[in-house]
């Protein structure tokens, strides 16, 4: 596992003027299921993360500035929008979480280094290995619990050492 893949976490303390919670992770959570989005959002907020949710991979890519026309919107320069972690469901209509993972990892920008965590309700070893091999930071089994998010944060923090 490339320890450089967590370097984006070090960037969190970059802008002391705009970021009051400059220790906060900004997480982009992607899931087509509304209940699961609510759940993951709450879990992350309880763990002191700033959360942005997206209901599908296309919306997620647009948010990251990787929309259809590959527009890199000016707001990417705005530190408030910078994402430190992407957590995505695997099974989504249209573009899957796996395809989203690959798109992010193909980027030449800071996005390539952003950890991507895949969630799934199904425990399929070939699926898990495929995601890890394509650069996923971690795989998490749904339904998510508080202890899972705590484990996630620990895992991400340990990457730095």
């Amino acid at each position: 596992m490339n320890s450089g893949s967590c370097s984006s976490l070090m960037d969190v303390g970059y802008d002391h003027h705009h970021h009051h919670g400059h220790e906060e992770l900004h997480v982009l959570a992607v899931d087509d299921n509304l209940i699961d989005r609510k759940l993951v959002e709450k879990l992350l907020k309880i763990s002191s993360c700033k959360v942005t949710t997206a209901e599908n991979a296309i919306r997620a890519l647009e948010y990251l500035g990787l929309g259809d026309q590959n527009q890199h919107i000016d707001t990417l320069a705005n530190n408030d929008l910078k994402v430190n972690l992407i957590i995505t469901d695997y099974c989504m209509p249209g573009m899957t979480g796996f395809e989203l993972l690959k798109k992010v990892k193909q980027e030449s920008s800071y996005l390539k280094e952003v950890p991507v965590v895949i969630m799934s309700s199904e425990n399929i070893p070939t699926r898990i290995n495929k995601c890890l091999a394509s650069g996923a930071q971690m795989f998490m089994q749904k339904p998510l619990k508080l202890s899972d998010v705590e484990k996630l944060k620990c895992h991400l923090m340990n990457c730095r050492s």
Binding site: N33, L34, I35, K38, K42, P93, K145
Partner: protein
């Protein structure tokens, strides 16, 4: 000691435990309750409310897809079951989730009759759970109104 509060708390505890024992709820509901705090005292009620709305919508869509025997859209049904299975699993709605498992199997082999039975069952189960949880939330309200706190219930 305020015995009215104590009585209500006891009632709440017994009722919640019975819901687990009868298989309506599983551990994930406990996990959901852990996420509720003073800042978001209605979190569980809000999430389950969204879940029940979701159930209703998905059941309607699947019902339409299954309506005409000569033209069943099993892909649509499968998609609905997948959503329902996911949501029910995430909120700890054990019986609903279990019906979804059978439902998926019927869908996989394109068994329309089986699907219709499962659809009926899932409709029954979610409505039953909705009633049970409403009773639970009402008990919570009564405790709070009597000036008490909602007990932490440990399910062994």
């Amino acid at each position: 000691m305020n015995t009215v509060v104590a009585q209500l708390q006891r009632q709440f505890q017994d009722y919640l435990v019975s819901l687990y024992q009868q298989g309506f709820l599983d551990n994930q509901f406990t996990e959901l309750r852990k996420l509720q705090d003073e800042g978001t005292p209605d979190f569980v009620a809000e999430v389950v409310s969204l879940f029940f709305d979701d159930c209703s919508k998905l059941i309607n869509t699947m019902s339409r897809s299954l309506e005409r025997p000569e033209n069943v859209d099993f892909k649509q049904v499968d998609s609905g079951v997948h959503q329902l299975k996911g949501s029910s699993s995430s909120v700890g709605a054990r019986r609903v989730k279990n019906v979804c498992i059978s439902f998926k199997e019927c869908c996989d082999v394109q068994n329309r009759e089986g699907c219709l039975r499962c659809l009926q069952q899932v409709d029954y189960e979610y409505k039953m759970l909705k009633t049970k949880l409403q009773d639970l939330f009402n008990l919570e309200q009564r405790i709070l109104q009597a000036g008490g706190m909602i007990p932490q219930v440990n399910i062994s």
